[in-house]
Amino acid sequence: MRTISYLLIGIVFGITMYKSEAASWFRIYEMFKFESFHMYGIIGSALVIGIVMVQLIKRIPIKSFYGETIKFYPKEKSFSRYMIGGIIFGLGWALAGACPGPMFTLVGAGYVPILVLILASIVGTFLYGLIKDKLPH
């Protein structure tokens, strides 16, 4: 049952990424050129609703569908890892035009070369794990 729910949520996510054009390289380029409101509208409206939602969930003792308490995990405090890591991610996001969610959506949409990108991003994650202890965090 839970497996089905994860799968269905994933399907809705995939459809949303494709139909919103957030999975389009062109939309990412246009966003960084500040030539359209589209991507800002998507992220901004998701965020406004998200903030209200999270605050409400924290105040109302709501349980998950399976009766568990809903947990939020605060991110550990740091500046350098978020700033440096974020810049590296941003460089790749703009170059490849896809982030770790939409890149899988594009596999389903039939773009074979995206597999090269996914493979490279797995290798990139591995390289991070390899030298992580030598990096400022």
Binding site: L7, A23, I43
Partner: protein, 185 residues
């Protein structure tokens, strides 16, 4: 019924993303896609060499199922819900891109110069995908999250670290598009 083939406007797409985050919370999970890349490393055996990948990947199986769904969703959306996949970007953006050599701007969903099958025999296109992927994979784990984990989940929970990461995403993206693109394309 033609509306079904149209791209979704931002005011449909954004609330849908919030709904997806809500549904994941309601099944006891947190929205974040990039951790799957770490899980995939572990499945490939990276835990034998590097401590960072030594964890029980089965605890992350749920997120891989979300990924499987995202693939299926991409298939459904592109085949059943779309007639004309071309992305209607700003005419100024199209002009800019054509000047950089992206002739497919305004005519396709992804630039054919990078994502068509025959682009794979082009060293430059292949390099863009490989370098882009390496940066995404490395940076997202270094920053502890990507667009979903930081820009949506983290910022929704008013996390300062996520704000720093998102500012970083934008610095990186702006440098790439405005400074590096004119040099490489």
């Amino acid at each position: 019924m033609n509306w079904i083939y149209e791209p979704w406007p931002w005011y449909v797409s954004g609330p849908m993303i919030a709904l997806i985050m809500f549904l994941l919370l309601m099944v006891g999970k947190n929205f974040g896609m990039s951790s799957n890349l770490r899980t995939l490393c572990t499945i490939c055996g990276a835990g034998n060499k590097v401590n960072f990948f030594r964890f029980d990947w089965k605890s992350q199986k749920w997120n891989l199922i979300v990924v499987l769904g995202a693939i299926i969703g991409g298939f459904i959306a592109s085949t059943l819900l779309t007639n004309d996949a071309s992305v209607d970007i700003n005419p100024n953006t199209i002009a800019d891109l054509q000047e950089l050599g992206f002739e497919s701007a305004g005519k396709a969903y992804l630039p054919t110069e990078l994502f068509a099958l025959d682009a794979m025999t082009n060293i430059k296109s292949l390099s863009v995908l490989i370098i882009g992927g390496l940066l995404v994979g490395f940076g997202t784990r270094y920053a502890g999250g990507c667009t979903s984990g930081h820009a949506i989940s983290g910022l929704s929970n008013l996390q300062l670290p996520s704000l720093i990461a998102v500012i970083g995403f934008f610095i990186g993206g702006l440098v790439m598009i405005h400074i590096i693109f004119p040099l490489i394309f």
